[in-house]
Symmetry: C2
Subunit: 365 residues, 2 copies
């Protein structure tokens, strides 16, 4: 008879808080925060962590205390929560658009928060000029540049220069630099884009005060983009199965796990977890096999989901989990999992600590 796979901590979490529970180990979180800061320090870059991963002003404060210069948000609603939580140097790596958002941006700026939004088109730039007018304050803007990811961002240095000039041409706006998010296999192209942009800007008397690079996998490329001034990393605070897959993290670096109970073993080769797509999400992590790594049963495959069911294929798993076992799962993509819950459970090693509000959860607007 093998000993139970359910650790005393897992049993305690299930007994006191119930499962599923999204749990972070603060010891690992602190180690990950320190590592990120060290990596930025070593490369001579300012650290501007992306809070889309943790959505907590408390964790952002831990990042600041470790040396972060400011934070990055993806949405204005996240920035509002962070500002209320005492964070006053905020980069928003997103095109903000529409009068409702411009009124809110103006409010933040007027309240003395340094909020730098991004733009990849003139419509968005002209909106920021209106926000600056409403706030009666200058707003610094970055031009988002796309060097191969095909997300947002101007596609050519020529467009970047034209947009920078448009920003600088508005009396209420200040051109502050560029936002990059280089694909790992496009470092040289990204450098060439940056160099050409810089040269073209100089001809118009414009300088790059900020060159922001991004991504947790790109931490191994820090220093490769000459002229970068700061870096945005979100996922590294917790890590996930995607980061394991690309070699950006080891299992010991994974600070977050979803604790779930095996509630059914209806067939000999299969089982059901009480955690489905409404907890672990359907995010495949860019095409990973299965929907998470069960630490206690790495050969049990989470083959599919219903909303509240995780379907286990136990064909390759021996011994197999039994009904009532509480397991811990490293999710495919940690940022979207945190966004499913109002509270994270906090632990240190094998000790339950408490809970932490995900204050910016669901701030999609």
């Amino acid at each position: 008879m093998p000993s139970s796979p359910t650790t005393p901590l897992a049993r305690q979490i299930a007994r006191e808080l119930g499962t599923p529970a999204v749990v972070i180990d603060l010891d690992v979180v602190e180690r990950n925060i320190a590592k990120l800061q060290q990596a930025c320090d070593a490369a001579g870059l300012a650290n501007r962590p992306h809070i889309k991963t943790h959505k907590s002003p408390v964790l952002a404060t831990m990042q600041r205390d470790a040396g972060a210069k400011g934070i990055t948000c993806q949405k204005l609603g996240e920035a509002e929560v962070m500002a209320a939580g005492g964070h006053h140097d905020i980069l928003i790596s997103y095109n903000l658009l529409g009068e409702e958002k411009m009124a809110r941006l103006a409010r933040l700026v007027r309240d003395g928060i340094s909020v730098r939004p991004c733009a990849d088109n003139p419509v968005v730039v002209d909106g920021y000029a209106e926000a600056a007018r409403i706030a009666d304050r200058e707003i610094g803007v970055l031009v988002e540049c796309d060097t191969g990811r095909e997300r947002a961002g101007v596609e050519t240095p020529r467009e970047a220069i034209a947009l920078a000039r448009r920003i600088a041409g508005h009396s209420g706006l200040r051109f502050d630099g560029v936002l990059l998010y280089a694909p790992e296999d496009k470092m040289l192209e990204t450098q060439a884009f940056l160099d050409e942009t810089r040269a073209g800007l100089a001809e118009h008397g414009l300088a790059l005060r900020i060159v922001s690079t991004g991504g947790t996998p790109n931490l191994r490329n820090l220093g490769r983009i000459e002229g970068a001034t700061e870096h945005r990393s979100g996922t590294s605070i917790f890590n996930d199965r995607m980061m394991l897959a690309c070699g950006a993290a080891s299992l010991e670096d994974c600070a977050l796990a979803v604790y779930a109970t095996v509630v059914s073993r209806a067939g000999p080769e299969r089982g059901i977890l009480d955690s489905g797509s409404k907890t672990l999400t359907s995010d495949t992590g860019g095409g990973l096999d299965g929907h998470g790594l069960i630490r206690e049963f790495p050969k049990a495959r989470i083959k599919g989901f219903a909303e509240e069911h995780g379907m286990l294929d136990l064909g390759s798993c021996d011994p197999k989990p039994e009904i009532g076992d509480v397991v811990s799962i490293i999710p495919n993509h940690v940022c979207v999992v945190v966004n499913m819950v109002d509270r994270l459970v906090t632990v240190r090693g094998d000790k339950l600590v408490g809970t932490l509000e995900v204050a910016a959860r669901g701030k999609i607007v």
Copy 2:
């Protein structure tokens, strides 16, 4: 110059509430509620809608006012919210397990709420007996039966009978019947499973007071399972792209849309919506192409997501949406989208009404 694709309502929602916004049309909701009730009435089945889709006690009350006998929940946390909202006849179509959950189940039952949970294994049944002991009340339990879906549920009538006998053998429990969720191509097998179970139960003096069937696509099969007593449908209150794909709904039946703004047109054949996997979710709706149907641009394909970016492939779309256009998207799977937001925006036709709290959002425990 074509007229703007942005409707006055979309413009108003963007201006007053911002995008993305998850919007329901109450006229369509009321029509869908009435249709479901009529379908159940016509088949002689009690209507027990599944609230996992809307997670709102207010909408559940509208369903009750239309004739629903009670409601179905997937999680105990949902049942608690619904009970607090005045719903006292609750089926939980799920294996509840663990002492934390048994204490909460006992509390609900003791408060006079009729909560019937399900079981597909003896461990779960014995837990319910403990909850009944704590509550000092009898608890009615259904046996979940799997007739081909490979989710939870006993796989054979023999197991169903054994589990029913175990339930009936506990002094605090009452065997109330079976929960079915038949695949559409397994109606005959499901009928055979039910008939064999009924006959076997009779030999032990046990009867099926409740035979619960489920699923919105199965509304076209109502009446095909002889002996069914009630039906659970969730998605039909809103409908989605999955229901369009399987023919269970038409576009006019879709009550929910995600309103999103085009914030970038970085390439001639592509664009970006301000709505990504943290709003529309990565749920593929069982393998649909793309991540939603844009009503104003049905040929624009939402080809991928970042967390807050919806990537548009506009290659087949003419005219193409422009920066600043506000579009409305029928999501692949509506139940998981509702679960992303704290509030739904409500409209009637082209009139903005207000907002409605998604009170049971994120109640995964």
